[in-house]
């Protein structure tokens, strides 16, 4: 049966094609790990994870402490969530329950367009627009600080939070809403006390994904947070995130030095963090859809 063999070969080809994504994901992990390991021949893992200073160019003893940039990354991410989560959920609730169909038709592309703006453009506006504004409001030197980065990251995370939260809200069965209205609740009470709690896991998954976006975002924080290597102290101080550290230092470092391998180790940590965040949001999301 020539025909059957041919079919098998074609199916095998597409099977291999499907496997590729697993290979890429595994490949990223393995290559990051392979390139990080040599770093720990000279610097202990304990040093990397616990020292509060990152200074690879120190004259006497180079310091490779992850903590300052880890704290910086989480700081700007937290800042961005404080802005993006309420604003995003509010917008999603407006779109799913308040807006007329015509407003929705206009607003949906707006969210898509916002998602399409390259991060480097947002970062540029952080320098030329938001930076001077923050500088004027707070009296800091140039407004390139954690606050600036947080606001820009919020803009980057908003489309994810809005569109996924809206999906979660519109997927709440109509009967929930009708039952609530029939019991005498008004529309606002229904949205706040019935629909949002019913969609909570979907909304939470949306926020987690937004968080993953924010923590891995490079260009905006690279351009807008000032990149001072010191341990972060306040939102008005300059910070240097994990992504920005890699982006700045990989261009300057000699290949296959301890510093070079250390940057891969930072990348590995970043990969693991985003992987865990994505996995959690995935699990929450699937619980959410299975309930239906």
């Amino acid at each position: 049966m020539n025909r059957r063999i041919k079919e098998k070969i074609i199916e095998g080809f597409f099977f291999l094609n499907g496997i590729i994504v697993i290979l890429i994901l595994a490949g990223i992990f393995i290559l990051l790990l392979k390139n990080s390991i040599p770093a720990f021949r000279e610097v202990s893992l304990q040093h990397f994870l616990s020292r509060p200073i990152w200074n690879p160019d120190a004259y006497e003893q180079p310091m490779y402490g992850l903590l300052p940039m880890l704290v910086s990354s989480f700081m700007v991410t937290l800042g961005s969530l404080i802005v993006a989560v309420p604003l995003g959920i509010g917008t999603a609730a407006y779109l799913s329950d308040v807006a007329s169909p015509r407003v929705r038709e206009i607003a949906k592309p707006v969210v898509e367009i916002l998602a399409g703006i390259p991060s480097v453009v947002i970062g540029f506006l952080g320098i030329v627009l938001l930076g001077p504004f923050i500088s004027k409001m707070t009296g800091t030197y140039n407004g390139l600080n954690a606050l600036n980065g947080s606001i820009l990251l919020a803009v980057m995370a908003l489309p994810t939070v809005i569109s996924l939260s809206e999906d979660a809200l519109t997927s709440v069965p109509r009967s929930y809403e009708e039952a609530s209205l029939a019991l005498g609740a008004n529309k606002w009470q229904t949205v706040i006390r019935v629909k949002i709690p019913a969609a909570a896991s979907g909304v939470l998954a949306a926020c987690m994904l937004g968080m993953g976006r924010a923590i891995g975002e490079t260009m905006t924080v690279l351009m807008a947070t000032g990149n001072a290597a010191a341990f972060p102290t306040s939102f008005l101080g300059s910070v240097k995130t994990m992504t920005a550290t890699i982006a700045i230092e990989l261009g300057e470092v000699a290949y296959y030095t301890t510093h070079f391998h250390m940057l891969f180790a930072v990348g590995l940590i970043l990969f693991i963090i985003t992987f865990i965040i994505n996995l959690i949001s995935d699990i929450i999301f699937h619980k959410h859809t299975r309930m239906r």
Binding site: V21, Y94, T274, D282
Partner: protein
Amino acid sequence: MKLKFSNIIQVLGFMILRLCMICVLLILVVIFYDIITKGIGVVSWEFITKPPVDGMTKGGIYPAIIGTFFITMITAILSVPLGMGCAIFLNEYARDNGLTRFIRMSIRNLSGVPSIVYGLFGVALFVEGCHFGTSILAAGCTLGLMTLPLTITASEEALKTVPRAYREGSLALGATKWQSIWTNVLPYAVPGMLTGTILGLSRAAGETAPILFTGAAFFLPDVPNSVFSQFMALPYHLYIMSTQHHNISLVRPIAYGTALVLIILIFAMNSIAIITRYHLRKKGIAHG
């Protein structure tokens, strides 16, 4: 209707929600207003057809436009066939088993990997591992892998819109699985696949972090002449012009011009995809 306390709360609550929406809208308006008003004066025919001159303080951004075009091409060559193949596997062949769920989980996770991590991966695999050096090829491949999850998702969406009856009709007439996919599924799905893919490519065209170390160059007097040369790219040029140039305030107008060209390019790609998708959908309703 009586004026009840709960109704006042409702009016206030909806007002807050509306304010959220207006706030998002305002962000977009501010972004576009600033870039368009300050960039429009810079963009001219010379700006998009001349290379930078005088230490990049004058002249245009032609090599950056060409560079972005080239890497987007490489990205498409890698990402489109792979993405379509993977989507065909997932939608036509795969059974709902553990492996398939694992593949889907991998795709979702890949789309969440930070772009700078793709940059590191590109350095380790393409620049060093495959000895491509810092080149158009290395950067294009890196971006190609990065856009793969988007291409797969878009292609699968397109395959899903083809009614089951198309496949079953063909199978019932004695065609093999591949024959029915080839003659009865792909012709209807490919246009949709391509439009979805353009959306993914437009994202690749705007990315900076993955190309920082895989081939983007500060300044090149000429356009690249092979896939192994370095290149200038629009997003990287904007980054250079706004942070790394020796006289940042002097070149600010050029940075604005670059930002405007980049945004126009990306939205042109997006609009093409969205308009085609719209027409395809209308056609789909007509004969489905």
